[in-house]
């Protein structure tokens, strides 16, 4: 099973969720689907319409930047990391 490391700001949205999870999956999309099975709602936090990874979410498989279609091996290590670029002000602002 792949080992998935989740960021603090993500697990904080799901009380009791662990920072590290072992899941089955042969690509990033199926790994995230497996995560969502144990932590309902988690996929919506990582995946946008398309489907694609959300703009400011980075996923690395064995140290390489990944997309939803990137293969995942049984002994892969997957890191989910919020991008530095996501910390800017809400672009929607409030109209003033």
């Amino acid at each position: 099973m792949a080992t998935v490391h989740l960021p603090r700001s993500l697990v904080a949205l799901f009380p009791g969720a662990p920072r590290t999870v072992e899941v089955e999956g042969d690509d990033v999309a199926s790994v995230i689907a497996a995560l969502d099975g144990g932590i309902p709602g988690l996929r919506d936090r990582l995946v946008d319409a398309g489907p694609v990874l959300r703009e400011h979410i980075n996923v690395y498989v064995d140290g390489e930047r990944a997309t939803l279609r990137t293969p995942v091996a049984r002994d892969s290590v997957v890191h989910v990391i919020p991008a530095v670029s996501g910390g800017s002000a809400d672009p929607a602002g409030a109209g003033a």
Binding site: S9, L10, A12, L13, P15, G41, D44, R45, L46, D48, A49, G50, P51, R54, H56, I57, P82, A83, G86, G87, S88, A89, D90, P91, A92, G93, A94, G95, A96
Partner: protein, 357 residues
């Protein structure tokens, strides 16, 4: 004894719950809640006692948060809050409003969603985005956002919504169809100053105790409608500006309302002359009174945004306004005098008040 109040605050950096004493004298701030997400709107579902918060994380996307214990613990969901994999990406939730057993959410890009299970799952109200005007919708400065939702007080099938730079709509059949409600509203930035749609509504409210009287703060003036938005009459009158966002109505007197004019769309969007004032009407907009006692009268380069005003249900009514500078002001005398309740919050985007016993 007066009811104790909780003020529900949405900010650029999370939600806050501010609890008052019996006299609305001392206040206790709790937050930031919702994991510090930008929260555009926090509202209360009186039928369930739930606090609902709508917003969006720059990393994790849009969601509606729910707390059943006055903000102590929260859950969140965006299950169904999507236009589908072929549709545009939803950036954030701008408004969350509960009525008649349904929770409604307005989002950016503009659309309306409903939840019939308290916010756990959502379904798209497709008819609004199927409206013939939709190909011509274009965003305002705040984006293409559905920011105003007004349920009819008695008829669960009726609902008004407001979209920036598009205007007001009404459904009378539970969201199966929508009709434009912009007649008589100016759009000075449009070649036709009175188009069928394209007006930039900033905020609208239903006058208390009425079923058809609406008030609207627009990009281009303040308006009143006596026929559920089918026609509007401008009531900008003596106001120092036709531009502003926030608007609040009296809990028992439909002729009384408050607004906070700003200096103008292209003049910085702060209070006129950097002197803060709330303006009150007691005759449904025929005349306006400037109220500034206790508010900063110089160097106040700040705004009060569209959801950042609330009115409690006590007598005399308390009025609460949150500024873009993170100061929450309160008045216990219907706006005659003001004082700060919290002075160092993040930029405030929404204020609501609820009696908590």
């Amino acid at each position: 004894m007066a009811d104790r109040l909780a003020l529900l605050i949405g900010t650029k950096k999370g939600a806050f719950v501010i609890t008052g004493d019996d006299d609305r004298e001392r206040w206790s701030v709790r937050g930031p809640l919702c994991e510090g997400w930008p929260i555009h709107d926090v509202s209360y579902d009186a039928s369930t006692g739930a606090i609902l918060a709508g917003g969006g994380s720059p990393w994790y996307g849009p969601a509606v948060w729910r707390s059943d214990d006055l903000g102590e613990t929260w859950s969140h969901s965006s299950d169904g809050l999507t236009y589908g994999d072929d549709g545009p990406k939803i950036a954030t939730v701008w408004n969350v409003t509960a009525a008649h057993g349904t929770v409604w959410a307005g989002v950016d890009p503009a659309g309306l969603f409903r939840s019939d299970d308290g916010g756990r799952t959502w379904s798209h109200v497709q008819a609004l985005r199927d409206h013939p005007s939709r190909p011509e919708w274009s965003p305002g400065a705040g984006g293409l956002c559905l920011h105003t939702i007004i349920p009819h007080p008695d008829d669960p099938d009726r609902l008004w919504v407001g979209i920036s730079a598009v205007g007001m709509f009404e459904t009378r059949d539970g969201g199966a169809t929508f009709e434009l409600r912009n007649k008589g509203v100016r759009a000075d930035f449009h070649p036709d100053r009175y188009p069928e749609f394209g007006q930039c509504v900033h905020k609208a409210i239903l006058a208390t105790g009425t079923a058809e009287t609406l008030l609207q703060q627009n990009h281009c003036g303040v308006y009143r409608s006596a026929d559920g938005g089918r026609s509007w009459t401008e009531i900008t009158g003596s106001l120092p500006s036709d531009f502003g966002f926030a608007m609040g109505g009296h809990p028992t007197r439909p002729e009384t309302a408050w607004i906070v004019p700003l200096n103008g769309a292209d003049k910085g969007r702060y209070v006129p002359d950097a002197a803060m004032a709330v303006w009150r009407t007691r005759d449904a907009g025929d005349s306006w009174q400037r109220l500034s006692s206790g508010l900063p009268q110089q160097d106040a380069y700040l705004a009060v945004l569209r959801e950042a005003m609330a009115v409690d249900r006590l007598d005399p009514a308390g009025v609460y306004i949150g500024t873009s500078a993170g100061v929450l002001y309160g008045s216990r005398d219907e706006g005659d005098s003001w004082r700060p309740i919290a002075e160092h919050l993040p930029p405030i985007w929404s204020v609501d008040s609820v009696a908590v016993g």
